[in-house]
Symmetry: C2
Subunit: 680 residues, 2 copies
Amino acid sequence: MNATDFVKRLLVGRKLASTQLGETLLPKRIALPVFASDALSSVAYAPDEILLTLSLAGMAGFAFSWEIALAVAVVMLIVVMSYRQTVHAYPSGGGDYEVATVNLGPNAGVVVASALLVDYVLTVAVSVSSGVQNAKAMMPFLAGNEGLWAAAVILALMAMNLRGVRESGSFFAVPTYGFLIGVLGMTAWGLFRILGLGENLQAPTASYEVVGSPAYEPFIGLAMVVLLARAFSSGCAALTGVEAISNGVPAFREPKSHNAATTLAMLGGIAITMFGGIVLLANLTGLKLIDPDGHSHFLDTGVPVDVAHETVMGQLARTIFDTFPVGFFFVITATMIILFLAANTAFNGFPVLGSILARDGFLPRMLHTRGDRLAYSNGIFVLAMAAVGLVVVFNANVTALIQLYVVGVFVSFTISQFGMTRHWTRHLKTETDPRNRARMLRSRAINTVGLAGTGIVLIIVLASKFVYGAYQAVLAMAVLFVVMRSIKAHYQKVARETAVGAMDARLLPSRVRAVILVQEVNKPTMRAVNFARATRTSSIEAVTVAVDEAETREIVAKWDEQGLDLALKVISSPYREVTGPFVNYVRGIRSDNPRDVVCVYIPEYIVGHWWEQLLHNQTALIVRTRLNFMQGVMVTSVPYQLASSKYAFDRAERNSAAAWRRPGTGQVRVGDFNEPGRRE
Amino acid sequence: MNATDFVKRLLVGRKLASTQLGETLLPKRIALPVFASDALSSVAYAPDEILLTLSLAGMAGFAFSWEIALAVAVVMLIVVMSYRQTVHAYPSGGGDYEVATVNLGPNAGVVVASALLVDYVLTVAVSVSSGVQNAKAMMPFLAGNEGLWAAAVILALMAMNLRGVRESGSFFAVPTYGFLIGVLGMTAWGLFRILGLGENLQAPTASYEVVGSPAYEPFIGLAMVVLLARAFSSGCAALTGVEAISNGVPAFREPKSHNAATTLAMLGGIAITMFGGIVLLANLTGLKLIDPDGHSHFLDTGVPVDVAHETVMGQLARTIFDTFPVGFFFVITATMIILFLAANTAFNGFPVLGSILARDGFLPRMLHTRGDRLAYSNGIFVLAMAAVGLVVVFNANVTALIQLYVVGVFVSFTISQFGMTRHWTRHLKTETDPRNRARMLRSRAINTVGLAGTGIVLIIVLASKFVYGAYQAVLAMAVLFVVMRSIKAHYQKVARETAVGAMDARLLPSRVRAVILVQEVNKPTMRAVNFARATRTSSIEAVTVAVDEAETREIVAKWDEQGLDLALKVISSPYREVTGPFVNYVRGIRSDNPRDVVCVYIPEYIVGHWWEQLLHNQTALIVRTRLNFMQGVMVTSVPYQLASSKYAFDRAERNSAAAWRRPGTGQVRVGDFNEPGRRE
């Protein structure tokens, strides 16, 4: 095992066989942290975004934080109730994509898929950025390079996810529960001190007056409605991640749907409690935030910049645990880690969705193939790269990223709820059992409320955020939609073009004419000649192109020495090029014998290092590419393994083939679908 | 003809057939501008570099410009005399490389080649940079982006050279002769006005005092020797390019050697005259330059910066043609153009040398192949890219670039002269005719003087410039030397490894077993099956890998529908991967039947656009790569041309194959080296 293998083993873990897939199914206590960290962790930034949006109206704005929080909680309740219906109706894990495709047609499905793909990327970018921003309360040295730190975290998450789902679950349970305990404990302790002991706890920013933007003073009329809508839209970031469970149903233990629905209910309850607790504490301690882009500011300019920009979580932990620093560090550490793990939700959901889309022909087929590990390595990689791009461009600025966020989730929420109402209506048509009908009618009512609620939120989000950045997300979705439709159209066209007809299996060419390309007389060429002769084609020719007269005479002389009963033909090349005359010669054979097939044998050097490739096979490559365009011509590479290829071969073997020989797993077996030709 | 073709035709011109090569031979009047522009154009920067180096000693330094110029002229004379012997002795155009290889062995040859390759790149970089610097006298807007302008000029030169040698000659003759007339005319007119009419012509900088670097005041002893050596070394830039003629002998008309020697003598005479004239005028007009890096400066700080940095040529033309602005513009324009054309010398020499080195196995073989045009397109491209890199990094600063220059030329001069003395000594051993012996003795004496002269200059150049930048050139040569030796060693190793043995032509495998990789049941797969069956191999199997159970059942069902009398084998894939199990299956066949050969048939989709490649053939590519490492396995691609490939095919045809069908040129002919299998 060399160093590379060791690192790969360390990062990616051992391979898992297909039969081991059962082992990766998740119990509820593990599924909750894996799928819920996104929704839970958003309490670390959703209150911040509400408060700093409201700060644009100055002191008058902060009074509305409670109302906004309540509205978000109500929407959360509606969405959770709605999705509990979905996980029962569609346990296959297609989630919103499947619901939309089945009930509203493939175009709706692709719209949902585009929206979800964009939002998965944003989930990673926002969560990791917020994690870095929160971490600054403990580690001030992060300031200045937030984008690069966030990128590093994303790459680390990518590596962990390439190890596979199950290890992710175990690995992520402890910190998620730590965050739960930390935040709920802090809330309880804070409320006890304020309400029980009657202490006057004041946030570091409590004593400052906030001056808003002139646009929102006085805070009445349309300006007020617009700003409250923006604050609400930003707060709705707390809702993202709920759909992750509906996409992840197959990863649950049996009974899958029931367990998923229960987990969803738990998630909803916990999220609303934490969110409410944080906003309540912020109100009680007089906590204030200002817009980092400078549209609002503190009246007292003496506020240290690092305090002014500290997150809600940082200020609360500092205030409530003022006499208990261990508590402060515990809460901030747990917040940081849960935010990084929240990104993991997307690392679970994105590759699964990508694979489903690839299966349906909307993405390149290679995304459908699993890699070494059971996780979908390709999808994980693509997601990580896109998110790294975003955090670097936005330098991990949560407030800027949040403007692009949420749109996608509510697009898919709304379409999916619409699909669910169709689903129940369709099933009600055929269902006769009164108990089932009653359950369906109830479900349809819940999904109809869901449709109305999420639809209204979508309109509010689009209207209030569009010019602030949501248009970029909409644009990305539109591009993805067009790309996915085009890929599908391409695969469909190819499938039509290549569909087997009645005669295809009987179109046997009358003869195969072998042509061997000779550029030197050496072992590789002789091997090509011998292989071609062993194949016993109808005719066989060896052909060389005369680029340089002296060289050609030498080749001919050496050829004659070999004493083969096969003449070497020489083609003249007025432009001293090999490709053109050779391809034209083959074309000549084809047009003289249109019912025959030509098989061109090309000796190829197999080398061990990439730079050796530059020194060999260039002509072979060009000739092959040109011949590929010709009907009725096949190209046979006859590889000659140079000694240096041994190293590259060993490396390739170690990386993949070796695993197939491990005792007990993956011995080559001829399957039992149809049997005549079974080996051994 | 589409737009791309039109542009290509415009830039690269029509193809030339092998038989047209004679037409590209050069008469002396064309050969002079083509090969001599480098040496001639250096009068536009060599005097500058002498003066600005001397300026480090303040006013005392300028007094030595005459002595330095004289020394350079003497070396020029020696080198020209020496190379006249070389063009007679080695008319094949290998030049210094051939002389060194034949007389001193391949390692000496590779040293010379490394030196020349580096210096060709520097010739382009220095000449074009100087051209841009001189052009600033007319076009001040160039200032600031000199590097980018120089890069643009190099790219334009590249495009012109890709058109071929002959057009270059005609194209470049007019401006070269224009430069000759301009400079000689300016010199004559200036001398006439000063000496004949007794006018007091003063350069714009004549009235300024120059303050040197403290290191060189007082200007005596070691400091003086060191500085004069540096000034002389920079002045020796005037000598580069002389070897271009000896490398270019085959491009001359018959009698080649005689014409080349005559051209060389003309070149030497003209260059010395121009060089001497410029330095004389600079002295007479009191012209002064300062070091652009700021080690020397004018005492009068009121000098406008643009005058202070104006080149010698610019200042002289301004002074002498003070009443005749047309003369000023003519000289500056001609200077600019000749400097750009000087780079053309390298564009003539570099690709020829690269091709010779590729022929001898020191560079990748593909550099030996001629492109569409008779010029060596690959070499031209590599040279242009390297020079563009240099001018961009150095921002076309001639004084910085000149520190790297000259070393390479004198390395090859010295080794080549050493080789020439060996050459004559060897021939004198067998020569008995007294007249021939006398001529050879005279030649040997000249080359011995040449060896001594160039050897001394090489030592001076190395010692005086090493730390100022020459070490970079030496490093580049060392790297090139190692790379070229390694490439040669690689080719030799491969040649030994692949040399045909007595038995190679008789190692016929006992049977060929065909294996068809089935991933879908469609036309491409059916074509592969039909082609494989038509080939009549000893056995034939169709194999699919069961990645997904449902998919596999569908494939098997469709296969059975086809009614082929060929069973489809199914290989289980515990890791849901195609490559590993398939490769292992083939390995099993091989180890069960070690004397047989396996031929794997893979259907391949031929598409029209690069992005379609991402959607197809990925598995085929990976399988092929893995199988290539296996002994006794050949891989046959059976291409299936999708409708979209038509466009790409047409484009490829237009770009190359079409030319082979032009009446009269390039019809496919079966040559007359050996004949039994003649077609038609």
